[in-house]
Point group: C2
Chain length 619, copies 2
């Protein structure tokens, strides 16, 4: 019986049949890798996810994190999962071999992580944050910082966090108040309060390395005066770990992710909290931004993972749940009760989930793959083209995946009916857990401002131009396929609507009517996501269709009946058929809306910005 | 400070300025009522909601229902709320005066209930179910049944439930297995298992009157052989209440509505469970269907209530939460930090919530008002026209309101950022509580089949024809307003797309291509909801615009500056302005999508119905 977390056939299709990631092994950087290693990694990831992480998923949700005498404790079941995760070397799959990692391509890490995240999103916060923080130390830390902290973090011995948010400073990071005072020994004394710190305290590791944004005395205000510090929960003194005056004030009670400790931390309550500057003074934001793409791609993957598990569970459930239907009884009053997957409305919901889920999978892996191409390209122009694609698509990928994954889990509840609303089934937890993805690592509104305000205008629109060129070249290819005519027409139209809309917002921005691009940034970002996903799904359908036709030709199957027989016998054929139908479904239901969405954006009405606040309601 | 549950100004606007519900008082049935009684009712409802029900909302969520020695216990805080609710006579606001009720119009009851439901949706399940069950006994029960059960239920002394669902019979009600065996004394012995019984057991009342669907021995299979029985938890014997062999097997652990007991009940484990037939044998389904409109309007109101509270809390939060923004800093690098309601993207989210929430309010009150008109119309043709509008719009109203209210609560979380994800704020509870509304009382998929399969074809399309005539007549009126041109154009186009789509589905149905109307029923229902809500919002905007112009004219305010001054001084003016902007916003963002939605429906692709199940995924 296949797993109910991730459709591994689709993972393979996306990696090997669409993106051809094994091509990367030709580059020096990945010359030690091969399709065989890739397959082994995915296989092992699936096993660990199913056997060690998934069993702790519902348990972690019910037990939650407790705070006892200032020490946060994770669910008991997480300790075993963490032990296996570290021992099997999963902390280091994306880490450079020179630091004992496996140095796998990012696209491959996406696939492996999708299994882990689908199995237990809350648990994965701990290794995820530790690796992210360690990577900053690797890239920007001193030799001494790397040997003191990074190695222990990559091995899983110590945890890690990113401490940005403060009660008064959420999206507005420049408003942080945490202060750093220079000590005579070169260290800094840190004083301040941080909130919403994922993995801010826990008992999985003996120590936690916090990366803390703070302002050095005398530094400028706003984001320009922010520095980043290593602030360990415990410092090493004479070989012993001693407290560094970091206090866990609270563990938030949340809608979901109950097993992930979201903490409020006080640094320096006793003025005894030591921090160590990473890189230069006042370079906190640029350093953070350097990690932004990776972190945001990670959040997109968080979304995908829950959509994926919700979809797979729904496919299984609809094949097991038996109900009659008035629809079937119209044709035949004695129609037998059937699995609900036979009901058209249920199929429609499943197909919507499938197209959205596989669309975001393709988008995320594609962005990861572009990142891989950027680091392996032989010439600089190529590399910067690939990097540009990553930069452009990252906000789209993060926002679209997190918004749509929530919708997918919502639809999974709908498919499960009353049972979907009950804890007896894992569906409602997927919905609760995934909701945060549209908020953390920059709300989706912030992503939209990044897209419209930075990415579109970057290098005089060069990134967007590359995107348009890529999609045009691909469309020319898809147009040759006579069986995809309708879907291609939908994509062609949607793409030109995206172009018009982009032009419109750019013109308004240049003419100083800034309220318009800002007001319409989020709907624009949604349209951008629709077109990107439509493009990737059609790309997949074009491949699937060619392969399906080959199978039909080989079997000499040229009638609907004989082709149906093949679909029932040959699983690859059925899989390809599913890919084609999913792409057509997405183009029909989502891309059809593009002209309307574009019209709403270019309408340009800003009366809601100009009207007084009290027009909303008296509260 | 105004309440944060329901915008009472909008309630008044909808009732009095849009629908003119006080006109109902001219009819014999409501001759005792007046605008003054209506206002007093709404005012008192608001006070009770805020002071007694709301304080038990978060508490009930945290405490939940417990099952102790076979007895379900509600949160302690509910007892006080229930006492006040009953003592103040709220059980009977919709009940006929001849049964000691207040006999208020349904539109008014919607308004009062919106406050109660917004304050505590889980709590309201108990009185709501009791009244619903009592109304069936009132309408179909014998004189003796009315005096034994109904009166005690209307007073709140006894509770009530509806027992339909069984583990194997959800949407497929005809598959129930609960049996009824005739006893010599005219009663029946009931044996069976029911699940998902709202209020199935609790300790608010000394007794609970279950209305149970069961099959009498020898009755036909399917829905034709179902009868409905009164099965009290306890029967009266010699003036004492004794157990009637009804066992509470489990209380479900759910995503939300923790304070509402969702029970699995066993009837007749000891073969000692007595039931009393209501009406004729095998008439269970027609009797149930008789109550369907009321129950489904109720669920639409459940949805609205949570959207309303989520919206009001969001308006308040965005005025209190201070953050700076890059957008404001583009114009002025030293831009001060402002309440986030000043940020365009936040305003866009608020306006989306406002238009959806006020749209469903108008839709629900309108349907309730049509029901009132149907019962007060002087001639039969008029009455049946109004009743037809109710029948047609009920599934649309239930499905659209429940789907959109979930989206509104989702957006409220987004507006609150990380805080929206935490239990510290009430937002995440609104989201959890409201999710069930798209499932219970017939899933939204079932509503769509009701709309397409029954309502459209009823009386050769007469209901839909009436709807088209009404909207055309109103559009002719709106077209006279030069300031609503663009919104009117959107509605005109969307309405004609709805017409085309309806024709298309009807033709496919008549030509026997049943898979098409069934496959596209849900997207069609969504489009129907969009057009209905667009129509009602534009109707409101037309009124608001006329009144706003009157205010401007009176103040001789003819420049943008002087008009802005009026908006800042005169709250009514600001309110009207908000109504106009909300309608325009809805027409721009939602009705613009109508052509695309219609295209997706009329596309008519059914390959997803025809492909083998395994094309979805291997699980």
């Amino acid at each position: 019986m296949a797993n109910l977390l991730v459709d591994e056939r689709d993972v393979q299709f996306t990696l090997y049949e669409q993106l051809n990631v094994e091509e990367l092994c030709r580059a020096e950087k990945f010359s030690e890798q091969s399709r065989e290693t890739f397959d082994m990694v995915i296989d092992a990831a699936q096993k660990l996810a199913e056997n060690k992480l998934w069993p702790a998923n519902a348990d972690g949700d019910r037990v939650g994190v407790t705070l006892e005498s200032g020490q946060a404790k994770v669910p008991e079941s997480y300790h075993n999962a963490y032990k296996h995760f570290c021992e099997d070397g999963w902390m280091g799959i994306s880490v450079d071999p020179e630091y004992d990692g496996q140095g796998l391509p990012i696209a491959l890490c996406c696939a492996a992580n999708e299994f882990f995240l689908a199995a237990n999103l809350a648990f994965m916060a701990y290794p995820g944050l530790a690796v992210g923080a360690a990577r900053i130390i690797q890239k920007f830390g001193s030799e001494e910082q790397r040997s003191t902290y990074m190695e222990k973090m990559y091995s899983g011995e110590w945890g890690g966090t990113m401490c940005l948010t403060e009660p008064q400073a959420g999206s507005d990071v420049g408003a942080i108040r945490t202060r750093a005072k220079r000590n005579s020994d070169g260290s800094f004394s840190i004083v301040g309060n941080k909130v919403f710190i994922t993995g801010g305290d826990h008992d999985l590791t003996e120590n936690i390395v916090h990366l803390v944004l703070a302002r050095i005395e005398g530094a400028p205000g706003g984001t320009k005066g922010i520095s980043i510090f290593i602030v360990p929960k415990k410092t090493l003194e004479n070989g012993c770990l001693v407290d560094n005056d970091v206090t866990t004030v609270a563990v938030e009670k949340k809608l979901g992710l109950h097993g992930s400790a979201t903490c409020a931390l006080n640094f320096g309550e006793q003025d005894q909290c030591k921090g160590y500057l990473i890189g230069e003074e006042n370079m906190g934001m640029p350093i953070m931004f350097h990690m932004m793409n990776e972190a945001r791609l990670g959040v997109a993957l968080h979304g995908l993972s829950q959509a994926s598990a919700a979809y797979m569970h729904s496919v299984r459930y609809t094949q097991e749940r038996i109900q009659g239907s008035d629809f079937l009884r119209i044709r035949d009053p004695d129609a037998p009760r059937v699995p609900i997957i036979e009901h058209p409305d249920v199929r429609r919901m499943l197909m919507w989930m499938k197209s959205a889920t596989e669309g975001m999978r393709s988008l995320i892996y594609f962005v990861g793959y572009c990142e891989d191409l950027a680091t392996t390209a032989s010439d600089k122009t190529e590399a910067s083209k690939h990097q540009g694609m990553v930069d452009l698509l990252i906000p789209v990928c993060k926002a679209w995946s997190s918004d749509m994954s929530f919708r997918v889990t919502e639809m999974a509840i709908q498919i499960h009916g009353g049972y979907g609303y009950c804890q007896e089934y894992p569906i409602e937890q997927f919905l609760r857990d995934v909701k945060i993805t549209s908020i953390y690592e920059g709300t989706n509104g912030i992503q939209a401002l990044d897209l419209v305000g930075r990415k579109l205008s970057s290098n005089q629109g060069a990134l967007f131009k590359t995107f348009m060129e890529m999609t045009e070249a691909d469309l020319a290819r898809f147009r040759k396929n006579p069986r995809l005519v309708r879907a291609v027409a939908n994509l062609t139209q949607a793409r030109s609507k995206l172009f018009e809309t982009t032009l419109h917002l750019a013109q308004k921005g240049m003419s100083g009517e800034l309220a318009i691009p800002v007001l319409y940034a989020t709907p624009y970002q949604e349209l951008f996501g629709d077109v990107s996903v439509g493009h990737l799904l059609l790309w997949q359908a074009d491949i699937a269709d060619r392969k399906l036709q080959e199978i039909f030709d080989k079997a000499n199957a040229h009638t609907p009946e004989s082709q149906l027989e093949i679909l029932n016998q040959n699983y690859d054929a059925a899989f390809y058929k599913g890919k084609i139908v999913a792409a057509e479904f997405f183009c029909n239901f989502t891309l059809s809306l593009a002209p309307g969405k574009a019209q709403a954006i270019t309408n340009g009405d800003i009366s809601l910005v100009e009207m007084p606040n009290r027009c909303f309601a008296k509260t």
